[in-house]
Structure formats: C-alpha cells, structure tokens
C-alpha cells in the first residue's frame, strides 16, 4: 500500500476519530495533520506494520494523550497559518450541539479515559484492541472506562 492509497481511504475516518477525541474540529485537524505528516515522512516503517491503520491510530492516540504544553500544541499554535481550511459551522445543528451537556462533560475527563470511551462507544472496538492502542493492559482499559462512566453519572445527578 502506498501513502496515497492509505490517505485516500483512511484520512476521513481518522479525522472523525480525532473530532471525537478532541471535541473540536480545529484541534482535530491539527492533531491529524501532525500525525499524518509523520506518517508520510516515515511511511516505509508504517507500511511494514501488521496493520498500518491500527499503527497510525495508535500514533494519533499517543499524540493526543501526550498533549502537553511544549509538544505538538505549541508547534501548532505557533505555526501561524491561516485557518482557511476550517469550514465555518454555524447552522442549527451546531448550536444544538453547543447545548449538548454530555459532550461538554466529556471535555473534563482525563485524555486517556476519553480516548478509551471513544474507542469503545464510537469505534466499537473490543477491549483487547483498545488496550493495544492505548498501550496498557486490558484490565486498565476496563477500569478507566468504568471510572469515566462513574464521573459522567455523577454529572448527571448534579445536573
């Protein structure tokens, strides 16, 4: 498989996945962009993986989880390129989305927990694969998901 073929079929699903992780289309674009630049520069290594798709998803997830000041966020912010690539979403669906409570609660979760939720409830992956992507044990996946759900339930009660 060439990089072009990979991007043809996988870029859109990766971008959707990044939107679910970050909750924000701009950040999702930056996250995918940074990951895919590295994928392109190191394509031979990526292509050698058993499943390039899972390999890249793991890269992207790590990038998101390691998201600290001084890592890719700063590079992205300092890049200073115009945001002409971002479509403006101001339709009614968008404003409904802004009132979406569960969505805003998600943003307060630790990133690993949010990633685990997205992988299970959006990507519908089995726990074994989630553990592989997050680089931890299956038990750790289950406990972080149940902790995340507990946090969300507590928000429900308060709300």
């Amino acid at each position: 498989m060439t990089y072009e073929e990979f991007a043809d079929t996988r870029l859109a699903p990766l971008l959707r996945y990044a939107v679910m992780l970050t909750g924000d289309p701009h950040q999702a674009q930056d996250l995918v962009q940074e990951t895919m630049v590295r994928v392109q520069l190191n394509w031979r290594r990526v292509a050698r993986a058993d499943s390039p798709e899972r390999y890249v998803r793991r890269m992207l997830t790590n990038q998101y989880v390691d998201w600290r000041r001084g890592s890719w966020v700063r590079r992205v912010l300092l890049r200073g390129e115009p945001d002409s690539t971002v479509p403006v979403t101001t339709d009614h669906a968008q404003s409904a989305v802004d009132r979406d409570e569960i969505w805003s609660w998600l943003s307060r979760l630790p990133r690993r927990q949010r990633a685990a939720l997205v992988l299970r409830y959006y990507e519908d992956l089995p726990d074994v694969e989630i553990a592989d992507i997050l680089g931890c044990a299956v038990g750790t996946v289950r406990s972080s998901i149940s902790r995340a759900l507990a946090t969300l339930r507590a928000e429900y009660v308060e709300a």
Binding site: A7, L11, A12, L15, R16, V19, M20, G23, P25, A28, Q29, V32, Q33, M36, V37, R38, Q40, L41, N42, R45, G70, E81, S84, T85, V86, P87, T89, A93, Q94, V97, D100, I102, W103, L106, L117, V118, Y121, Y122, L149, L152, R153, Y156
Partner: protein
C-alpha cells in the same frame, strides 16, 4: 443508559468533522517543508564533520613539542596501519574570550563505525546534568572551565576534564579530540578569504551593535565570530545560533573547497599551520595521521546527526537529564558499534528537528 447517551452524542457530533481535502493538501505541504529542513540539516552536518576532520588534521602540524608545520606529514609515510575498529573523536567548541574560564558551547562526538559506512555526529546537550570527577554534579558545559581553571585557563586541562566526564557518562572509548575556539575560527575565516553566508533573519549583535541583514553576505573573521556569539534575541535562542553556525560551517567548507584547500596538502598544511596555535588538541592513542587516513575509506562522508536522548529541561537552572529508557539503549549501541542498527529502529531520533 449512559452508554447509549454516549453513543448517541458521538454520532450526533459526526457533522462537526471538517472536509479532508484542504487538510490533505496541508499535510503534503508540511511534509515537504520538513523534508527540506532535514536535507538542509544534513548539509550542515557534513560541514561540521569536515570541520572535525580539519581539526583532526591539526596535530600533525602542532605537536605538543611544537615545531614548524610540515606538509610531508600529510602525504608522508607512517609505519602504523590505518586504525581498525570504530573510532570516536571528541569535538569541544569553546568561547575563550577574556580571562574568565571558558564554557564549552558545544560538545560533539564524531563516531566512525568499524564498517566505515558513514560518520555519526552525536551532540551531547550542554545543559546535561552530569557528575564531574572531583566536583559536584553540574552541567556538562561546566566541566571545561572547572578543568581549565582561572589563571590563566589551561585548555588542555579543560579538555581533559571534559573528556573524562564524557567517557564516564557514555562509557565510550575516546580515541582523540580537539578543541575549537573562536579565535581559531577567526583565523580560519580570514585564511580562506572570508566566508559567504545567506542569513534567513536579520541579526543584531548584542556585543558590537553590528547588524547582519537577512541576506547573502561575506563575513571576515571578526564578523563571523560576532555572528556566532549571538544567542539572546534570536527567535529560538541557542537553536537559532546552532542554525547560524550550520550555515556558517557550510559556507566555510565551501570557501575552503573552492580554493582547493581540502584536496591540496600543501595549502591545507599552510592553513592549519596558521590556525594551529589557537587549537588545543589532546594526544590520543591513535595518531592523527591514522585518523586522517580513515577519511578516504569512508563509503559516505554524509554524517548522521544524532543527539543523546534527553527529557525536558527542569528547574530554574534548566538542567536536562538523559532519557531513562532511550539513553542507555543509545549509549550501548554507540559503545558496541551498532549505531546503524539503532538508527534503523529509531528513525525519529535522527537530526534535531524535534
């Protein structure tokens, strides 16, 4: 039930996903730019390696016992065979103006593997926290002044303590080394009739107020030293300086090779003879002539740029610590002459574009 809400929330937000077209173009653009940067860095690395080789050549003409330069040394006979096995050369760049003990601005290991495939340039961060023999734990660049002392600073002793510190830190056998000073650089620049550089950004000297425009220009020795001392006020501080140094080194090598200095032993001897007194070199186990004779045996002179893997700077003094996992692996590979292998497994570590 909360699980169902979650699923629904995710699906509801799918329309937030932007289109991929512009993103894909941006990825291609950025990847292209990083490839260019990488190539440019490699060119700079080549220049540094040649500078190192120039340095390696020096002791031929300035042995500890002194004596006039002898061109015969370069072409002439040596009874010793060309060194076998891997070779490590320590390059220390220092700022030796004034009477204060000089700090080491850059510490590099030039590693030539036993298969003679290509040189590796390993930079050791100058803020690395290291134990220094006979002193407290300090930054790597402090080893030089601690060894050299005050009145007057002894470059040989400064080099020696730096060598011990690096040897203890890395466990690598250091065959020989060279100290590059700003005054050596000034002489070298003047000897080749100035060095052309094209600066990407305007630089104003904090020391002399001299302004270097963002343009192509030819620097004489004094201007070169002035430019290379500038760190504060550059957009990325010492990274900006490293970049200017690479541009300068490439220009210096170009100037030298345009004049045939690198291939003409007599001219090279004359050049190094002129620079010689400003260069302090430690006599190693391998003679310099042996090392000089290695150069033609290399399959490629294009060096691989590497850096000791380190963590983020910590504390108010910005110490950096070796990466607890990657650094030991890296150093083991360096010691056991397996760097080619290591680089293949860690392509992300090549060249300091991080």
């Amino acid at each position: 039930m909360i699980e169902d809400d979650l699923r629904a929330a995710f699906v509801r937000h799918e329309p937030l996903t932007p289109s991929t077209g512009p993103l894909r173009a941006a990825i291609d653009r950025l990847a292209r730019r990083r490839r260019q940067l990488r190539r440019r860095w490699q060119a700079g690395g080549t220049a540094l390696a040649v500078l190192g080789v120039l340095g390696i050549g020096v002791p031929l003409f300035t042995p500890e016992s002194a004596g006039p330069p002898q061109a015969a040394g370069l072409t002439g006979a040596s009874d010793r065979p060309v060194a076998a096995g891997a070779v490590n050369v320590l390059l220390v760049g220092i700022d030796n103006r004034g009477s204060v003990p000089p700090l080491a601005d850059s510490v590099l290991l030039l590693h030539i593997p036993s298969d003679r495939s290509r040189p590796y340039l390993v930079s050791l961060p100058r803020d690395l926290k290291v134990p220094i023999n006979g002193h407290d734990t300090d930054k790597l660049n402090a080893a030089f002044p601690l060894g050299a002392g005050h009145s007057p600073p002894d470059l040989t002793k400064g080099y020696e303590l730096t060598r011990q510190t690096v040897a203890t830190l890395t466990g690598v056998r250091i065959d020989t080394g060279v100290v590059l000073t700003y005054s050596a650089l000034r002489t070298l620049t003047n000897e080749v009739g100035g060095v052309p550089v094209c600066l990407p950004e305007r630089v104003q000297s904090a020391h002399t107020q001299r302004v270097f425009p963002a343009a192509c220009q030819r620097l004489d020795g004094a201007a070169a030293v002035d430019l290379l001392r500038q760190r504060y006020g550059l957009p990325d501080g010492s990274q900006g300086r490293d970049r200017n140094a690479r541009i300068f080194a490439a220009g210096l090598v170009r100037s030298a090779s345009d004049q045939g200095v690198l291939t003409n032993p007599v001219r090279l001897a004359k050049l190094l003879g002129a620079v010689g007194p400003d260069l302090a070199v430690s006599p190693g186990e391998a003679t310099m002539l042996d090392l000089m004779r290695l150069v033609p045996t290399l399959r490629s002179v294009d060096p691989v740029g590497l850096s000791l893997p380190v963590g983020e700077p910590t504390g108010s003094s910005h110490f950096v610590q070796a990466d607890p996992k990657l650094a030991p692996e890296f150093l083991a590979a360096l010691r056991e002459d397996r760097l080619g292998d290591w680089v293949a497994r860690h392509p992300g570590q090549v060249s300091p574009t991080r």
